[in-house]
Symmetry: C2
Amino acid sequence: MAPPQASEPIHEFGLIRALRRQFSHRDAEVIRGIGDDAAVISASPKQWWHVTTDLLVEGVHFNLGTASPEAVGYRAAMANLSDLAAMGATPRYLLTSIAIPRRCSAAHVDQLYGGLMKACRPHRVSLIGGDTSASRGGLFLSLTLIGTTRRRQALLRSGARIGDALYVTGTLGDSLAGLQILTRQSSTRVAKPHQRFLIHRHLRPTARVSEGQWLNRARRASAAIDLSDGLSGDVRHLCEESRVGADIELDAIPISPSCRAYAKSSRQDPTQLALSGGEDYELLFTVSAQHQPAVEHQAKKAGYRITRIGVIRPRRSGLRIQSQAGEWRPLPLTSYEHFCS
Amino acid sequence: MAPPQASEPIHEFGLIRALRRQFSHRDAEVIRGIGDDAAVISASPKQWWHVTTDLLVEGVHFNLGTASPEAVGYRAAMANLSDLAAMGATPRYLLTSIAIPRRCSAAHVDQLYGGLMKACRPHRVSLIGGDTSASRGGLFLSLTLIGTTRRRQALLRSGARIGDALYVTGTLGDSLAGLQILTRQSSTRVAKPHQRFLIHRHLRPTARVSEGQWLNRARRASAAIDLSDGLSGDVRHLCEESRVGADIELDAIPISPSCRAYAKSSRQDPTQLALSGGEDYELLFTVSAQHQPAVEHQAKKAGYRITRIGVIRPRRSGLRIQSQAGEWRPLPLTSYEHFCS
């Protein structure tokens, strides 16, 4: 048969929707299939299992010219840990699929695994299997991470209700700013400490595993998702799964001093970095009015930085954002393109 | 950091051993980690979970010039189903990671998934998740398949004991013969029906899921592995994990009439095709002397083709093969190179 020819492009979200329609599960033990941060399986009378897969491709998600194999491994593991964080799960077991181009040495593969395990070790994740192959193209890395929660106790994307407040952990936009500094160093004159902070946030993100477990244990959050595609894209995914709309206050979005300084020096709008910047791996979650005081109090006590950035609205009002001038406008559709860190 | 440069090659088996040493699990619920056909986790008081990952890379494991996207998807699923068959597990949940080059259309991706689901549907496997990305190189496909068995009831590579008989299901070498016909059609003059049979065995292999479950349920096999790297390589893996040696009778290896006819017409030794040919996805298993009559009787009743090909020996006697002339010689080390079907 003739090899495939160039034609219409493939869009991930469209593909996921099509697959869900075609091969929707009929297994009573599948609690969540395709579409959430991780699949959820009822594995025992006491436990739910959460399974997530992330794929990182050289030249698409990373570039070995600007990121070491160790950093690539570390960030790949963090992307998966972040998916489980968004479910409130405890990460347990890792499987790795790696296709290695001829130009990579055994030392580079060691470094890649070193990065993976550096990210996983604090969570006591066990590497239980995988597959390795040569690659005729670039480096490909696919990870499967399995985590657990108690039965019927997990954060899902679908639980947001009208009137719930929208919160995020940490600060947004740092990772994209760090990536921009790494790839276009000449165009910014922001101070070195800011640069170091932002590059570190890009190359060494922290999945909010402990925050996710706290929100899940206390049963305080009604829904959650991790910010891997950018706030603008991920709030859309959460609202779609919950069948609701949302209002976001632009002024409320938490932005680090370093990100503000970098945005100013590079003549960008810092909120734009926060809205469209992916791979921050912070959590976006919703809390009912009743639980907000307790959540804010507990977060302060535990040293978790959380910020209220908006509110869940009926689906018909759509996704809106309030500008600095107080005007409401539709949330722009700016999904983050993972590319070449 | 500078991108990796060419240097020492990566060998999969060396890599797996090194990883096992470095990141050996300490999780009490991990029954088997890296090294068996699938990882085994004690998921509940009643169940073990079996998790396997297989990676297929364009230009290494397949070539879209000779195999359709549908055949690639089908064979990828079979490789994973075969890993679970070797554990005696029931396949349940599938996750797919796919990196798609620009030249592939949405129709090709549909066909790929069509092949995956065609292989999985008879086993009622649910597609529960995955990840999709663009690829700057070729097509890259990594599957993770999860299966279940009862607790403490699974076929492992490590259970073979001295004196156990070695058996295989089906016939060996057909897949390699089919691959050779597909890639060098001009050099054989074997009859068309033989060619069709061998090509079908290559493009449409059958994982021995039901045979594996039977052997496991009846607790008749002491160890098992699937034949993905070729008999010569896989008997080595089984014996290594069981810390034993083995004697194989060359004359006993089951070879199909089509494979014999093809070998004759292409001036090859058919047993060589059987020893070195990978991707037959038959099962190699061991049975104690006590259970052999029952296993042979039940197999006949159920219509399973099984053939006794040798016996397990002490480790010190190594791996030997008896030639047609009756002489014992060391088993040649000819591992199958997965390439370009």
